[in-house]
């Protein structure tokens, strides 16, 4: 008995050591890609064996939640650890990280790539000092979704360019609590990429801005007060209950199950809402431009999930090959042929919007193109501002500021504070952060 016990111990230790120290895949032609989990990225993962077959380059996927990905990749790049060869970033990070010299320029991906085919506004959003640092995988703006059947039943017509006053009138008429229908669904979940993405476009079109040219916060200005009061009143009267827990996903679920008369949100939701297999309202949904108030400046946003190569990558040459493959015209064709044309990554290339098969499968496409082309991240507001970005402010501090202000406004929406109190608190915390960061002298 005793001998056997002693024999087992070294065997177990040996096995354990073997399992721990076994060489775990690190061949030269393997790229590690850090990405977020969303439907278009899943399609890319699914189709990527075609790239491996073509080039012999293997791919490892590291999929993380958006904020974790940002923190994880930032740590890795800042310490030059080189864990990732390709990273998925948005229009918020691309210029900031390029400024920190964290990204390789990706302007030259070969003659066959046709860079000029990518929408200029999207290229501008991913550039820093006129150099492109990330190539768009898909891009989106925001627009108004509405229910044709409910509008018809209520005797309403959606104008070609709706205003917020009209939206309010429509919402009042469409709301029918007995049938479980809310006139309008809007984001209420606090977060810089959640409620503040939408609310920043609302404030922009009401004539407001986050900061003046001296970087002083403008959150208690009449435009902010008018915009946020409008939002809170509208949501309290015509919005779904507990709206402070509704982000993009929750509103998508509400609209697709027939609970909302209108919804102003990302253009990327259209592919889902028009798909009868996923959406109960596929036959009744229609789209209109994002509403405006006193100015069209910044009334609809511009966002793109894009692929970039960190300077710490040890396989930049192979990484460029993947970038050129995954964001090319031929990749869009591959998705169209294998997954259906409505599933192609939208918003990036002019050629996609000239493709008759895509236009047939995606009736919303011309408006999406118009929204993306007219979004101007370089001039997002009525008054001049020292920052770029439509639904965000392109400074590193904005993630924290946006989320704190988002929580203040959610408190007003939940009725715990008045709008004036929420904005005063938001102004004070923003001023403190901006002073500490050295923007305000």
């Amino acid at each position: 008995m005793k001998e056997r016990r002693f024999a087992v111990a070294p065997l177990a230790a040996g096995l354990l050591a073997g399992a721990l120290l076994a060489p775990i895949a690190a061949t030269a032609a393997t790229l590690t890609i850090a990405t977020v989990n969303n439907p278009d990225m899943l399609v890319m993962q699914k189709l990527s064996p075609a790239f491996t077959k073509e080039t012999g380059i293997k791919l490892n996927w590291v999929v993380l939640p958006e904020n974790t990905l940002r923190q994880r990749v930032t740590t890795d790049i800042a310490t030059h650890a080189g864990s990732f060869d390709i990273v998925t970033i948005g229009t918020y990070e691309a210029p900031l990280w390029a400024k920190n010299h964290w990204l390789d320029p990706v302007g030259n991906l070969g003659a066959a790539y046709d860079l000029a085919d990518i929408f200029p506004s999207v290229r501008a959003g991913l550039s820093y000092n006129r150099t492109l640092y990330a190539v768009p995988f898909y891009a989106e703006s925001s627009m108004t979704y509405y229910r044709k059947d409910l509008f018809k039943a209520a005797g309403l017509t959606m104008p070609a360019h709706p205003t917020y006053d009209e939206i309010k009138t429509f919402a009042d008429k469409l709301t029918d609590p007995a049938k479980g229908i809310y006139g309008v669904c809007l984001r209420g979940l606090p977060g810089w990429g959640e409620n503040m993405a939408y609310l920043t476009t609302l404030v922009n079109t009401f004539g407001g801005e986050w900061f003046n040219m001296k970087w002083e916060p403008q959150l208690t200005s009449p435009a902010w007060e008018k915009a946020i009061t409008f939002y809170v009143d509208l949501m309290k009267k015509d919005g779904p209950p507990n709206a402070t827990s509704n982000g993009f996903t929750e509103n998508l679920a509400l609209f697709s199950t027939g609970k909302c008369g209108m919804w102003i949100d990302a253009t990327v939701a259209a592919g889902y809402l028009y798909d009868p297999a996923k959406s109960k309202v596929a036959a009744d949904v229609a789209v209109a431009p994002a509403p405006t108030d006193v100015t069209p400046h910044g009334a609809h946003w511009l966002w793109s999930w894009a692929l970039a190569i960190p300077v710490s990558s040890r396989q930049a040459v192979d990484a460029r090959k993947f970038l050129a493959w995954a964001t090319s015209k031929s990749y869009i064709g591959l998705v169209g042929r294998t997954q259906g044309w409505v599933a192609v990554p939208p918003g990036t290339r002019e050629s996609t919007y000239k493709n008759p098969e895509y236009l047939k499968a995606a009736p919303f496409a011309p408006l999406v193109e118009q929204m993306i082309l007219s979004a101007d991240p370089l001039h997002p507001t009525m008054n001049p501002v020292p920052y770029t970005g439509v639904q965000f402010v392109g400074i590193p501090e904005f993630q924290g500021i946006g989320t704190t202000v988002g929580q203040d406004i959610a408190a007003a929406l939940a009725g715990r504070e008045t709008v004036a109190q929420a904005l005063q608190s938001a102004e004070a915390s923003t001023r403190r952060t901006m002073t500490e960061a050295g923007y305000i002298k």
């Binding site: 354990l16 895949a25 590291v62 999929v63 994880r72 740590t75 864990s83 679920a253 697709s256 990302a266």
Partner: protein, 272 residues
């Protein structure tokens, strides 16, 4: 009568609390068998036709087996290493205490109060230079160090309950410290060691911060596997639930198999 009523109401209260605590796990399991549309339906759907598509999606695209194998290897190896280090440490502290033993114990526990993110960058740099990033060996080291204070504390309190006279008698017979540990302490404290080990396995299994931050494509554990189903756009509730069921199932099974020993170990020394 009065006597009978009290236990009945107590039992009802206990059942209500138990049901409330169990409800999230039940709901997660139920959601895992829905389609994405049913998973987010408002009001929630109670009656539906169960489907396995979320499990298929969760296992097909993300290499569940690699993550599960990493979880098993990392949690068991880190626990074995922690016990190996903690056992002699707790022996010395329990039976040969010095002047500063109590301070040392409190200091060890106080290191658990440090938020991990505070040391992320230094640890990341050390791991980068040592070639331990994205390796299971690296995670084993981190998990061992994270759990060591708790394991030492637990073993220390179990050893304290063992009568010193037994060890003294052995010493009189000429048994050295190593003999005392292997021939006396090991069998006497085995329920305690087992419960400390189980706790360390569970803590290591559930550890997510280091697992997400120190790994990339190879060494991620099930915590990193679940994290990938949190999405900025698109519907992933059913897949997230399916992934969570797959992640908690092995440890739940292991926990229920080891339950008797765990309870016995945890109550050792409770009544002196």
């Amino acid at each position: 009568m009065q006597h009978d009523k009290a236990p009945l109401s107590g039992a009802i209260a206990a059942w209500i609390v138990a049901c409330l605590m169990f409800f999230p796990i039940l709901w997660m399991t139920v959601t895992a068998f829905k389609t994405e549309g049913e998973a987010v339906a408002i009001p929630p759907i109670i009656l539906f036709r169960p489907v396995l598509q979320s499990f298929a999606a969760a296992t097909a695209q993300s290499g569940y087996l690699l993550f599960a194998a990493n979880s098993v290897i990392v949690s068991f190896a880190s626990t074995a290493l922690a016990i190996l280090i903690a056992f002699p440490a707790a022996y010395a502290m329990a039976f040969q205490p010095g002047k500063r033993t109590k301070d040392l114990l409190v200091w060890m526990l106080s290191t658990k109060m440090l938020p991990p993110v505070g040391v992320l960058v230094p640890v990341y740099l050390i791991f980068r230079d040592a070639g331990l990033l994205d390796t299971r060996a690296g995670l084993v080291i981190v998990d061992t160090l994270m759990n060591l204070p708790i394991v030492v504390w637990m073993l220390f309190s179990f050893f304290r309950d063992i009568p010193r006279d037994i060890l003294e008698a052995a010493r009189m017979d000429g048994v050295g410290p190593r003999g005392q540990m292997t021939h006396l302490l090991l069998p006497l404290a085995s329920p305690g060691i087992a419960s400390a080990a189980l706790l360390a396995i569970i803590l290591s299994w559930n550890e997510s911060f280091w697992s997400i931050n120190l790994t990339a494509a190879h060494a991620g554990t099930l915590a990193a596997y679940i994290a990938r189903y949190s999405a900025p756009e698109g519907l992933f509730w059913a897949k997230l639930s399916a992934a969570s069921v797959l992640a908690v199932a092995p440890i739940l099974l292991f926990g229920s198999l080891a339950q008797r020993r765990l309870v016995r170990g945890l109550t050792v020394g409770a009544v002196k």
